[in-house]
């Protein structure tokens, strides 16, 4: 079903790829909701910004957390940003692993003007989404990619331990 969505196949400009398990969960989520599938397809165009916000609002209203988190792998940083904000509001902890994986892709120095600015906004929103899903503060040294990934993995491990300890 999602094979008809171009960006689900990955793009050189995508920060992450949609793994088979996530794809299966998205397809299960939209199996009985053709309007959601149509919305995800609309993100192919590339969409006008007003259009993707409409799609994201639609996914969020439907509580389609897997579809929303899959949008983190869309090549447009604006779609990613809208997805991060929707994830923060949905507070569906099931998408935490993919969110951590996405956040790990944001580390490292950035050359540019708007490029660097947008990346900083995405990092900040990713931190807020992680905190909204877990209630735990996350601090990442974003300028170094390996350091950032290590910090996020350790944070995820600690969070996993905390949850198993009965706090979740």
């Amino acid at each position: 079903m999602t094979d008809s969505i171009d960006w689900f196949g990955g793009s050189p400009r995508s920060p992450c790829s949609i793994d088979p398990e996530t794809r299966r969960l998205v397809e299960a989520e939209i199996a009985d909701a053709p309007q959601l599938l149509a919305g995800l397809r609309r993100l192919d165009d590339p969409p006008l910004a007003g259009q993707w916000q409409t799609v994201m609002d639609q996914l969020e209203r439907a509580g389609a957390s897997w579809s929303v988190v899959s949008c983190l792998c869309h090549p447009s940083p604006d779609v990613q940003l809208a997805a991060l904000r929707a994830i923060r509001r949905l507070r569906d902890r099931r998408v935490l692993d993919l969110l951590v994986r996405y956040a790990g892709s944001l580390g490292g120095p950035i050359v540019g003007s708007e490029e660097a600015t947008i990346r900083a906004v995405l990092r900040s929103e990713a931190e807020r989404a992680l905190e909204a899903l877990t209630g735990s503060t996350v601090e990442v040294s974003w300028n170094d990619a390996l350091t950032a990934q290590g910090q996020l993995e350790r944070w995820r491990g600690a969070e996993h331990t905390r949850k198993r300890g009965g706090n979740a």
Binding site: L48, A49, D78, V111, A116
Partner: protein
């Protein structure tokens, strides 16, 4: 120029009063007619005032309510004006906004006695009735009709002190010549409205920022419409400033920050109950091809209103360090891609922002909050590149501006606000360190 722009924001009361009180039957002063006839076409105003002015070293800023002096900025009065070539606004072509702005709303004629129906002089023909006032077709290329949030009729254009002014015309229920005695009593009123001395049926409307209600009256009947000349005043709310030089194990990282807001004039174009409906998402992508990263510039707008930015760049690299060595971007775009794109020039198209391919760093919805834009340029360089004593300088020059999509066409509605950051690095003890980076609200030293 900015001083003139805002100096002219005040209603032009005395001029209007004298113009309206001038007996319409009197012949037109030749000088005024000639001036109108020789007004520069918008397209040439755009080309000359836009790109030529962009290359000028004359100050264009100064008194823009706190805006710094600009050493190379053009402005919306450069021709709100879209770019080179025969753009859609180059002529008053019969676009989708070319239709008459009729309608039974409050701007339609209020009933009165049909002109020519009474009085001592015999009418020249059947009485004529005033139906409405509208921007005449020749002016709709730059002042198109925009649907309103209420029942009134609205026409919207970019404010300007130099571009050609729009004309409105009175429309009757049957064709009538300007010298027809049945319309001899037609009068025009409204701030910024100047009757055309050579044609009683039309009037010129001022184009400095403002809302102008234009009313035509005849025989006790009247009709009106509203013209909006829109301007966005760009304000610096932070910076531009160089942030403390950062250094990781792998890179030296020069960076800076700047923040802007925009004040929309007239404010009532946002707040009036009956205003042109310019809220919501954009209908067409803004102009431009791709950002240097390869992303489409089409992603640079998410509303009809849009904060945007032009960029030009230069790398001064006297030691010839390869971009691959400097890279700094890891898996992300870095000096390899940035270097391959050099030199980056300001786009020729006036409305194109070549450093604006996303909107997450802007607020483009002035109905929700003030329009804002932020930028945090960064140029990380790998410590492994170069040798002690080497220097690298990256000159980043920008022009911040606001554009507005009016009936599927993008217009610049602000001055182009210049600012820059010059990142200077020097290699010392095996690491890149700051070498006097600076930032300013000008485009000096490129």
């Amino acid at each position: 120029m900015m001083a003139r722009e805002f100096g002219n924001l005040a209603p032009q009361g005395p001029r209007i009063t004298s113009a309206i009180s001038r007996p319409l039957a009197h012949p037109a002063p030749l000088a005024i007619s000639a001036a109108l006839a020789t007004a520069a076409p918008l397209a040439s105003a755009r080309t000359d005032g836009g790109l030529a002015r962009a290359a000028s070293t004359q100050g264009d800023g100064g008194a823009d309510a706190g805006a710094p002096a600009a050493d190379a900025a053009g402005g919306p009065d450069a021709g709100p004006a879209p770019g080179a070539g025969p753009g859609p606004d180059a002529g008053p072509g019969p676009g989708p906004d070319a239709g008459p702005a009729a309608g039974p709303g409050p701007d339609a004629a209020q009933p009165g006695s049909p002109a020519g129906a009474g009085g001592a002089a015999p009418p020249a023909g059947p009485p004529v009735n005033l139906l409405r006032v509208e921007v005449e077709p020749a002016s709709r290329g730059h002042f198109p009709n925009v649907a309103g949030t209420g029942a009134g009729t609205h026409w919207v254009g970019a404010a300007s002190t130099t571009a050609v002014r729009p004309f409105v015309r009175a429309v009757f229920d049957s064709p009538v010549a300007a010298d027809d005695p049945r319309v001899a009593g037609l009068t025009w009123s409204g701030a910024g409205v100047t009757p055309d001395p050579g044609n009683a049926l039309r009037a010129e409307v001022a184009r400095t920022a403002g809302k102008r209600i234009v009313t035509a009256s005849l025989g006790g009947a009247s009709a009106r419409t509203t013209l909006w000349s829109v301007f966005a005043r760009i304000n610096v709310t932070g910076g531009p400033a160089i942030t403390p030089f950062a250094s990781t194990a792998l890179q030296g990282i020069p960076s800076g920050n700047v923040t802007f807001s925009a004040t929309i004039l007239p404010a009532t174009v946002i707040t009036d109950g009956d205003r042109p409906d310019l809220a919501g998402g954009n209908d067409t992508a803004p102009p431009g091809g791709v950002h240097w990263t390869g992303d489409a510039l089409a992603g640079g707008a998410d509303h009809h209103w849009d904060f945007s930015r032009k960029m030009r760049t230069r790398i001064v690299n006297p030691s010839g360090i390869t971009m691959a060595a400097l890279h700094g971007g890891g898996a992300h775009p870095g000096f390899i891609e940035f270097g391959a794109a050099q030199p980056i020039a300001y786009p020729a198209t006036w409305e194109e922002g070549n450093d604006d391919r996303a909107t997450g760093d802007e607020n483009n919805d002035p109905y929700a909050a003030a329009m804002t834009s932020t930028d945090t340029p960064s140029m990380p360089a790998d410590h492994s590149a170069g040798a002690d004593g080497d220097t690298v300088e990256v000159r980043l020059h920008f022009r911040e501006f606001v554009r507005l999509e009016i009936n599927r066409r993008w217009w610049v509605i602000s001055h182009h606000f210049p600012w820059r950051m010059h990142f200077r690095m020097r290699k010392a003890a095996g690491r890149w360190v700051d070498d006097g980076s600076d930032a300013a609200t000008d485009n000096a030293g490129f």
